[in-house]
Symmetry: C2
Subunit: 453 residues, 2 copies
């Protein structure tokens, strides 16, 4: 049967592209209140597409943009799969940097350029078209399939947690699949089995009530900028290990087999430095670049501001100094525990000659799918069939707060199959999807249903 | 004779105030190119006032605003005194914060409010009026007096060094007197005998070619903001001593008598914290607040900037991080030597995983007048006679680059006699001079000539 489905998919190429074109023309920018109605219309379009296939599909209201929930109904057997994705997109940004209009999809050199082509409309649509193909060819799906396509991913999914908890029975599943990640490189498909968590903090150090003359007052009262530099520097030791007490306590030891697998992945040092433009590597002593990147917790200063930052000089002791600091955490670090440990460490480091306030911007847990999970094996087979090449298994340093939520609330593991290339300009100008990857994505999604049956 | 001069000064009070009013009405804002012609007119007014007294006065051109040089001609004996000051003023700033117009002098509660009332027109005019009084009463001055009144002090005197070197013979003198400092407090007149020097630096740390995603790239390449925090923190040790090798090598040991004198000055801890609004004292271990403030070298971060500094969060590894750092230095630290030592220390602290650039914004030497200098004794007597109260001898943490220049080029010591109160709002809104201090200043300036005869 899968052969007939593949043939059908091939035969529908032009109408698949028409559908992708239609999806991408909606300016469903969730951050822009002026485009709120366009975002809703996009959700309605997704719901209608799924309903037209024969799924029971509904636009579910939230406190923000609505969410599409759909269900193919009970199947004869196999696993139940929840396909998660999002129909909202990032703003176009500076349109002068786009070669073609961000909401007028344009094909160049075998790729389709438009905002959302990769993140995430193109990847979501691949799954939808695979479902449609199965239903057209076989009149039924090999397994039960549900959809959860939200409209607020690009603003941090503020209402998704509540929605998943409210609809936990309706969303019940064995696996979640999402295609919002990337291949390892243009030639190598990848399944991502882990994401890091995030604890994002802001530190404000306050000293004098207003900026002071550094000549008249220097050396007598604390300078918040100097104090902040000391606090930040103290967060890591000379081996670039985070010094926050207990920080590493719950870090799960990597299985030697997994380490071997990750170390075997291609990652060229010279290419990496060229890509980042960094003069050299740096990071926690005792771990390779790959392991630091994918599997070790990190701490980064994301922003710094204090005093006089214009051209030239101004001889002041700043009244305030601010830093944004984020930590990427790994299994089994608990974000709330790390957050509290951070607060205590800052408090302990702060001298009495200043006031120090710490606030939180975000906390999210890491996620890892066990490598021996049958869903992973099914995905490997599906990608190999869809892309005609064996995928690699990789981790991702970024954060998807929804994954630990699915695990906690639905008890389901998540499988991330990326159909986009890593340099697809997801949040920048000239976002694109390689059309051959879009076709391979549809095939992969179709094969995945068979593999889970 | 001095009694007659004092009586004359008293009799001229109303016309002295008229002259002060006229001087303050000129918007001689040297930083504002649109007011360039007004600044020149102000210089011409000063020259004309001095010429009307009978001094040989000239407006000397520079590459910027002109400078007034005047000379009373040879006297029968005594020292030759050079009166230094400036006729330019700071911008008014936010005029909505002024109770009365900045360039319309207004008397309230015994003080005259206007931009330049204290810094420096009121103080310069006090010296001019003392000279005039002597000449009106005695037809001659007790000593030879010269004037050097510049129009670029508020923009850092960029052309004054060249001018002093060019006119070194014409400006030759035994002492320089300047009134551009303050009393210790409203009740206590002060003579300032030392200023700190300044070395002002900017550090730019560059890592990746553009901001990177802190999830995808964190832990692999150096974060310039973290690196900068480490470099800055390393500039001081736990005892708040500057760690730059050789930094303290040339610091002149204070004479125990001077330490005793400074320690005896009133400086109330609670008042000081209220004034600065700082939660507590901080600074180099082993020295009192007074000694740290007036006589120890200091290092302050004046500005910090890197990455994301808006509201909320952005998970980036910044491409760049910048800090402005200034050091106030004391006798006999050499600014060029300290500047080079700073550069070497930063270079040594910079890891190879980033690029670090250091640039200089300013270097200026400290100045100290020997306490046994006869000019100091003369000033003490003059202030006691003029203010009817014995002055204290203090140091100042700010920097006057002109003082070491006078010492080097003219071989003359500088005596700083302040007629303004410390909270005179010199660079802020509602700048003022207490009119009784203005009158005491004229008397002091008159007595000073007699003391130097």
């Amino acid at each position: 049967m899968i052969e007939a489905v593949e043939r059908y998919i091939e035969s529908q190429e032009s109408q698949h592209l028409e559908r992708l074109d239609a999806f991408l023309r909606f300016p469903s920018v969730s951050t822009d209140p002026a485009l709120g109605s366009q975002t809703r219309v996009t959700g309605e379009w997704v719901r209608d597409q799924l309903a037209a296939c024969g799924l029971e599909a509904e636009l579910v209201e939230t406190a923000g943009h609505p969410c599409v929930i759909a269900d193919s109904g009970p199947a004869d057997g196999g696993a139940t799969l929840l396909i998660y994705g999002h129909y909202d997109v990032q703003p176009a940004g500076d349109e002068s940097l786009w070669t073609s209009e961000p909401f007028e999809p344009t094909t160049r050199d075998g790729s389709l350029f438009a905002r959302g082509a990769a993140d995430d409309k193109g990847q979501v649509l691949a799954h939808m078209l695979a479902i449609e193909a199965w239903l057209k060819v076989a009149q039924r799906l090999p397994i039960r399939v549900k959809f959860l396509i939200e409209g607020e991913e690009e603003i941090g999914s503020p209402n998704l947690g509540d929605l998943v908890r409210q609809h936990r029975d309706r969303l019940a599943c064995d696996y979640v699949v999402l295609s919002d990640t990337a291949k390892l490189d243009a030639a190598t498909p990848a399944i991502t089995y882990s994401t890091k968590g995030l604890v994002y903090k802001e530190i404000v150090v306050t000293g004098p009530k207003s900026d002071l003359h550094s000549g008249s007052f220097g050396g007598t009262v604390a300078n918040p900028a100097n104090v902040l530099a000391g606090i930040l520097a103290g967060l890591k030791d000379d081996a670039q290990r985070v010094t926050i007490p207990g920080f590493y306590d719950d870090v799960r030891i990597l299985d030697p087999g997994e380490v071997k697998m990750l170390e075997a992945l291609p990652l060229d040092d010279a290419d990496y430095l060229t890509m980042t433009g960094s003069p050299g590597f740096d990071g926690e002593a005792g771990y390779s670049t790959k392991i630091r990147r994918w599997a070790r917790p990190t701490l980064d200063v994301n922003g710094l501001c204090s005093g006089f930052i214009g051209e030239g000089s101004s001889t002041i002791i700043p009244s305030k100094a601010m830093a944004k600091v984020s930590m990427r955490i790994v299994p089994d670090q608990d974000p709330e525990k790390i957050s509290a440990a951070f607060d205590r460490a800052i408090e302990a480091a702060a001298p009495g000659s200043v006031r120090v306030q710490v606030s939180s911007h975000a906390t999210a847990a890491a996620y890892v799918c066990p490598l021996d999970c049958p869903g992973i094996a099914a995905a490997v087979s599906a990608v190999e069939a869809g892309f005609r090449k064996k995928p690699v298994l990789i981790r991702e340093g970024g954060t998807l707060p929804i994954l630990p939520l699915f695990k906690d609330v639905l008890g389901a593991e998540s499988i991330m199959i990326g159909f986009a290339v890593p340099d697809c300009n997801a949040h920048g100008p000239n976002e694109f999807i390689v059309l051959e990857d879009f076709r391979a994505g549809i095939r992969t999604a179709a094969h995945f249903l068979k593999q889970l049956a």
